[in-house]
């Protein structure tokens, strides 16, 4: 095995082994647990950085199992884009491990927690490096169960267990589609290897209809994992997990997986424009839905959670517009600034003793590190130049504006126009709620506790994450000419059949290539949002700017009551059917059995009365002979 392959293998295996070992550590042994968790994620990060530095594609696979008509492999395929995502995963996971040592310093179940974080990281890295769809599916679902375990971690929150179950089940419902999509591809290509599947699609061995059907089915799983409408409902509730877990789920693992998988299988999606159209509509709806819901939240973590929903939709929008580069770019910058925002929010919550912004205010005094790093994160979220989020968001908007033609606003497909308009409107809303959060938390008079800086292990990760949140935009400056130049990567290029047929795969970005008109509009939107929130706040610094939303505020705060819709359309009917089946099973099926038995006994008693005196065994022999005779006649008859 070559060095890159070894490194790629280490990525998921080291945290995975550490996670499994960590589950056996006594809950009281905090030091061992912490050392194991931090060391494992650190190794993963080092491996990822080394892979990125080597700039080679690591490949290799071995046979996992022979399943009769098909073989399952396990292997790695890490190109520079995968390596970049792995760096993001490793960084966030390591910082979360470090941060959690102090954040959970009084928790007597810290050891399993640290182990589960390692497993979570291993599962995400499995998805990142996977060369086989089944292997990818393993990481995909293990991540789901880790999120379940970690969201349910906090025993003081009564809503935590329900939120955990919801997170797993909503994503698992989406995974029914994912399973079937993977199987459709596997049965069509007679292999689950991603390269084989893509090759089969390019050569036409996989029919167009099958690719389209498979991509649409995969999207169900993607919508579940990456919290896209209508399967986004689990993400805001997942806030019941400890704050570092929110950072982990929202930034680099779990939700990023859905976007990453579409990018990984992008040649297939380029061959299935119908699936991309569905993705685009889903993205446009989710973008606005998430942003509007974020405007009215009082819980600081819920603001961030809804903003994740909305930001993920930008990535989905970029994919729908044909630019996997823009999607992955936004994934990376978002990983940096969202992890920063959650960890900073954790620090705020730690100081304020509450999640509610109505009981915060004036916190910038006493916690300057938290204040400044969070300011950086919010600026990146709102898309203020030159912070990282600005560049990647512009890349997304630019891709949507160019659509499939490559020229800005020329013959734009309706779905691209939809993504562009929704994206621009969302820019303003995002700026508005980011500003509201900033002002309500750090400015004005204090409405609760005073601020104080947390332990060193908690604020150092903030500073570390602030660096990419500021500077990741510099990625656009990496020359696109080298074969493995960062975002010269375009899988579609390798499969000209798709590119030529649909004109996709041209979404380009990079400082010089951004269209000035789109940039100007989006900057105006940002300014409008920031200013709007600021002016409202200045009128009464103690009051919530969200009051301007009036009655709509309650609807936004409740996430458009989609939870109720879900309950009425899915949960209740399933429960009703379950009750009916349960009763039917007990009364009809089992009732039939016991009824037969009772009837037989009654018949037996009647017959016994008629045959008193006839020896029992004689009856049995005759009955047996009768049965065998009947069978013989039947068999003879059908012969």
């Amino acid at each position: 095995m070559s060095l890159p392959t070894v490194l790629a293998v280490l990525l998921p295996t080291v945290p995975g082994a550490a996670g499994l070992a960590g589950l056996l550590v006594r809950p009281a042994a905090r030091r061992t647990a912490a050392a194991l968790g931090i060391a494992a994620t650190a190794v993963a990060l080092v491996a990822a950085v080394a892979l990125t530095a080597l700039r080679q594609t690591a490949t290799g696979s071995v046979t996992l199992a022979d399943l009769g008509d098909v073989t399952v492999h396990v292997g790695v395929r890490v190109d520079p884009v995968a390596a970049a995502v792995a760096v993001a995963v490793g960084t966030v996971a390591l910082l979360v491990q470090v941060y959690s040592v102090a954040y959970l310093d009084r928790d007597d179940r810290y050891a399993p927690y640290a182990a589960q974080v390692s497993l979570f990281c291993a599962a995400m890295l499995t998805v990142v490096v996977a060369s086989d769809l089944i292997q990818l599916l393993v990481g995909w679902e293990v991540m789901g169960i880790c999120s379940y375990l970690l969201i349910a971690h906090d025993r003081t929150l009564p809503e935590a267990p329900a939120a955990a179950v919801k997170a797993f089940l909503v994503t698992r419902v989406g995974d029914v589609g994912f399973w079937l999509g993977v199987i459709l591809l596997g049965t069509g290509a007679d292999s689950f290897r991603i390269d084989d599947v893509i090759r089969a699609a390019a050569s036409g061995e996989l029919s167009h209809a099958r690719v389209t059907a498979a991509c649409l089915l995969l999207l169900a799983g993607v919508a579940g994992k990456s919290a896209q409408f209508p399967l986004h409902t689990w993400l805001p509730d997942a806030m019941a997990g400890p704050t570092p877990i929110s950072a982990l789920i929202h930034a680099a693992t779990m939700v990023a997986a859905g976007i990453y998988v579409v990018a990984r299988l992008y040649p297939l999606f380029l061959g299935a424009p119908a699936a991309l159209t569905v993705l685009g509509v889903m993205a446009a709806v989710t973008m606005l839905l998430g942003a509007l819901a974020a405007t009215a939240q009082d819980d600081i973590k819920r603001v961030l959670a809804w903003s994740t929903v909305s930001q993920l939709a930008y990535m989905a929008g970029a994919l729908a517009a044909g630019s996997d580069q823009a999607a992955i770019f936004h994934l990376l910058t978002h990983a940096a600034f969202k992890a920063l925002l959650f960890l900073a929010a954790g620090s705020v919550i730690h100081a304020a003793g509450t999640n509610l912004m109505s009981r915060m205010g004036g916190l910038r005094r006493g916690m300057p590190v938290t204040f400044w790093t969070m300011t950086v994160g919010l600026a990146a979220l709102a898309g203020v130049p030159p912070f990282a989020g600005f560049w990647s968001k512009e890349a997304v908007l630019d891709a949507a504006a160019r659509g499939s033609s490559g020229t800005v606003l020329a013959s734009l497909a309706p779905v691209h126009l939809l993504v562009l308009v929704a994206g621009l409107v969302t820019v303003a809303i995002t700026a508005w709620y980011a500003t509201r959060l900033w002002l309500r938390t750090f400015f004005g008079a204090s409405r609760g506790a005073a601020g104080h800086e947390p332990a060193r292990t908690m604020w150092i990760p903030l500073v570390v994450l602030a660096v990419p949140a500021v500077g990741l935009g510099a990625l656009t400056l990496v020359p696109r000419t080298t074969e493995f130049g960062w975002f010269a990567y375009a899988p579609a290029r390798h499969f000209g059949v798709f590119t030529a047929a649909s004109g996709y795969g041209r979404g380009a970005f990079g400082g010089a290539e951004l269209d000035p008109v789109v940039v100007a509009i989006s900057l105006a939107m940002t300014a409008a949002g920031v200013l709007g929130a600021y002016l409202l706040w200045r009128r009464d610094t103690a009051a919530d700017p969200a009051r301007v939303l009036g009655r709509a505020g309650a609807l936004f705060a409740a996430g458009f009551r989609l939870d109720d819709v879900q309950r009425a359309l899915v949960v209740r009917p399933v429960q009703a059917v379950a009750t009916a089946v349960w009763l039917g099973d007990a009364r009809v099926v089992d009732g039939g059995v016991t009824g037969t038995a009772r009837g037989a006994r009654r018949l037996g008693r009647t017959l016994a009365r008629l045959h008193t005196g006839l020896p029992g065994y004689l009856t049995a022999v005759l009955a047996g002979a009768l049965v065998l005779g009947l069978v013989a006649v039947l068999v003879g008859g059908v012969r």
Binding site: A152, L169, G186, V581
Partner: protein
């Protein structure tokens, strides 16, 4: 190596006798030693294996002696890649159950009206009947191993019947409050299946003129008319459907599993049900494939119904052991659906699903038993907050439940995913619909297992759980459970442990049964 083959049957049989005749504690220990020797013998069967012959069944080792020459009956035993994993699963679970019984003897039920059996009033009456329980477990083992090792139809039938009465006794003597009714239902229902099995065997043997499974499978149904094959398959499939069980012939199972003592439930769910799925594959599909092809769609529909109905019933279930019992209906539905596809992938999925179910459901019943022994109730309404009081038990329960819901990386996943794969690959509207429904059933399994965990482990500790003693796990419990935990993980990460063994015989079988 033929000696080992015989040893797997003779050692437990002698052990059963010894356990029954010796004084209580000694008897239990001697019985457990016999179980351990049988386990070692069964593991050793895998060494020096060579597929015998080029037929449709290629036993690694076999014993073929005349039994009743006048009737042309032969005592033909053999083990191959399809049966060996099940043989080892049987010897392992029996060993664990016997060892568990050395540590703790379940209290036999008493029939005193007005006394809440299972309540504390009864606890002070342990007796010396534990050795009989061990003896019965070993007798059951002999029967089950015989079923998996028989290469003769009549012999198969005989072993199939041997299992019945000891299991009846285990449920009827050591069972819960409603054990008599449950045991009677179990025995009558499965006897009804046996009659059909006998009739099916009769039809096949009478038609083909031989009872040798190797020959019969090799012929692939040749020499039997299509009508005969359909009748024979229907009879055999019905018999195995009762055992597996297949909806709607499953209602003996929840009662039997719920009332049986812990070790009884473990053996019932862990290996006894596999006699049905193994028989369906090896006997029914193997000897009359023509009939199988005709009736496979019906079997597929019923198996899918079992998956969905099992899961939906679990969503409404209020008792721990009953819930686990019904989950078996769903899991075995996946196995049966895999067999119904009559494809190599379907068979492979079914075989690995069999093993996974044995490991994980065996573990679940062990855990449910430990929990009920401690909390004195299995009602979900009276349990809750287990992780606050007994984190070890709660953690293991979570592991078993998560494995059972088919999480990738644990054993249950491979059978489920590739059953769906086999159905999709089979093609056609019917099988597509079945595949989709089975996949939905997989999601429903997640729903009811997470509901179970939420009710039992999360939240504040409720009364029955607060008073739970002991909170720690006993050494004997860890010894009994850890092999199951490790194997569930190992098969999950490296399904080849099973699939590499089954691949060749499955290919041979598929070649033989495909026209």
């Amino acid at each position: 190596m033929t000696v080992l083959l015989v040893a797997t049957l003779a050692v437990p049989a002698l052990g059963a006798l010894a356990a029954a005749l010796l004084p209580d504690r000694t008897g239990r220990v001697v019985g457990t030693v016999a179980a351990a020797l049988a386990f070692l013998a069964s593991v050793a069967l895998a060494f020096g294996r060579e597929p015998g012959g080029t037929g449709a069944i290629r036993p690694w080792h076999q014993l073929d002696v005349p039994w009743a020459p006048a009737l042309d009956l032969r005592f033909h035993l053999g083990v191959d890649g399809i049966s060996w994993p099940l043989v080892v699963l049987t010897t392992l679970l029996t060993l664990l159950c016997c060892g568990y019984t050395v540590w703790r003897v379940p209290v036999p039920g008493v029939d005193r009206p007005g006394v809440d059996p299972g309540g504390p009033a009864e606890e002070a009456r342990p007796d010396d009947r534990g050795r009989y329980l061990v003896a019965l477990l070993l007798a059951i083992e002999v029967g089950i191993l015989g079923v998996f090792e028989s290469l003769d139809l009549v012999l198969f039938f005989v072993f199939f019947e041997i299992v019945l009465l000891p299991m009846y006794a285990v449920i009827a003597v050591w069972g819960g409050p409603r054990r008599r009714a449950a045991a009677t239902k179990f025995v009558l229902y499965t006897l009804f299946g046996s009659v059909l099995l006998l009739a099916g065997v009769f039809v096949v043997v009478a038609g083909a003129g031989t009872a040798d499974l190797v020959t019969l499978t090799q012929r692939g149904g040749a020499g039997l008319g299509h009508g005969t094959q359909v009748v024979a398959f229907a009879l055999l499939a019905l018999a195995f459907a009762v055992k597996s069980p297949l909806w709607p012939l499953h209602t003996w199972l929840p009662d039997a599993h719920t009332e049986a003592p812990t070790v009884g439930s473990v053996i019932l769910a862990g290996v006894l049900l596999k006699m049905g799925t193994y028989g369906l594959l090896r006997v029914a599909v193997g000897t009359v494939p023509g009939g199988a092809r005709t009736l496979a769609p019906l079997l597929g529909v019923l198996a899918t119904a079992a998956i969905l109905i099992g899961a939906l019933v679990c969503l409404r279930q209020t008792e721990l052991k009953r819930l686990i019992a019904y989950s078996s209906v769903g899991h075995m539905g996946f196995v049966l659906l895999g067999i119904a596809t009559l494809s190599a992938t379907g068979f492979q999925a079914a075989l690995v699903g069999n093993i996974a179910h044995g490991l994980l459901t065996g573990l679940l019943f062990f855990l449910a038993g430990a929990l009920k022994d401690r909390a004195h109730t299995g009602e979900l309404d009276r349990l809750g907050g287990l992780r606050e009081v007994a984190p070890g038990l709660a953690g293991l329960l979570a592991f078993a439940a998560i494995g059972s819901l088919g999480l990738p990386g644990l054993a249950g996943f491979w059978g489920e995913l590739f059953t769906v794969y086999a159905a999709v690959r089979h093609g056609g509207p019917l099988w597509m619909v079945l595949a989709v429904l089975a996949a939905v059933g997989g999601a429903l399994a997640a729903a009811y297992f997470l509901r179970l965990l939420r009710r039992v482990t999360h939240g504040p500790a409720v009364n029955a759980v607060v008073g739970l003693r002991p909170t720690a796990l006993a050494g004997a419990e860890l010894v009994a459970w850890s092999p199951l935990v490790l194997l569930a993980l190992a098969v999950g990460l490296a399904p080849s442990l099973v699939l590499a063994l089954t691949a060749a015989p499955v290919h041979a079988l598929v070649t033989a049964v495909t026209p």
